[in-house]
Amino acid sequence: MTIPNPEHLFQQAERLAESASAGPTRQADLRRAISSAYYGLFHFILTCLADEMVGVMQRGSGRYTLVYRSIDHRALKDLCLEAQKATPSRKFATVMPPLGFGPDIQIFAVKTYELYESRNRADYDPQPRFVASDARLAIDAARTARLHFMQADPGLKTLFLTLLLCPPR
């Protein structure tokens, strides 16, 4: 099994965002850079989820792949919109801490939401014109979002991953 390495996707994004020659970087490269930054973060959280629910030692198993593949982008975005709140909504009130997920996961959630929307525009919307600054910010936001999740309280991380797999009805 070859799990995408988030840092490799961030480095790919950096290469795409750099102008290869004189003149501005191509829109196609800037759009792919923003997309790669988001995907680095997306694969990071999928790996965290499958490691937590199935186990690092089971990475080669079919069950690991099932859990890894079970999450779509919209599910992650929806949970991030909830997780960034200082106090949970009624739907999440019984399963979330009363004061929310705390600063690390809230920052992760806000940055992930921003990257989701930027990636959506970069991949599908012909209107925006992206510039190198957009790509640099997307790459930094993805890297730091990952760090915030990694340093968050272990119990809150597990709760976030559980809600990602099993959102309340």
């Binding site: 920052i107 929307e117 957009d134 640099r136 936001a141």
Partner: protein
């Protein structure tokens, strides 16, 4: 600030609060100015938009002075994302911002529209 009833028929009296675009820009500029990215800030451009799900959102472009986007400013702007969310929320704004960035020079460029 505009107050728009969005659930009038159900009688719940729910009101969606929306800042004027100049107020949105002011909140964002205040957050950026108070951070290490402050000296790099040139202006903030805000416009109403829709997010990927078709929900009302805010298109916010942070425009920077030329040659100011070093690693310290990039990191500060990245850290500002959270505080921009919180600043808008504290001002009563319910729409989420979708942030983009450009230097004045990048904003003035007119690239090939195809690539």
């Amino acid at each position: 600030m505009q107050c728009i009833p969005i659930d009038f028929l159900s009688g719940t009296g729910y009101i969606r609060l929306m800042l004027e675009m100049s107020e949105v820009s002011e909140v964002v500029a205040k957050v950026v100015s108070a951070s290490p990215a402050g000296p790099a800030l040139s202006r903030v451009l805000s416009a109403p938009t829709l997010d990927s799900a078709g929900e009302a959102a805010l298109d916010v472009k942070i425009v920077l002075r030329n040659d100011t986007l070093d690693d310290v400013v990039v990191r500060a702007l990245s850290d500002n994302i959270f505080w921009i969310f919180r600043g808008l929320e504290a001002s009563g704004e319910e729409r989420f911002p979708i942030l983009s960035y450009a230097t004045e020079e990048e904003l003035a460029q007119d690239d090939d529209p195809e690539s």
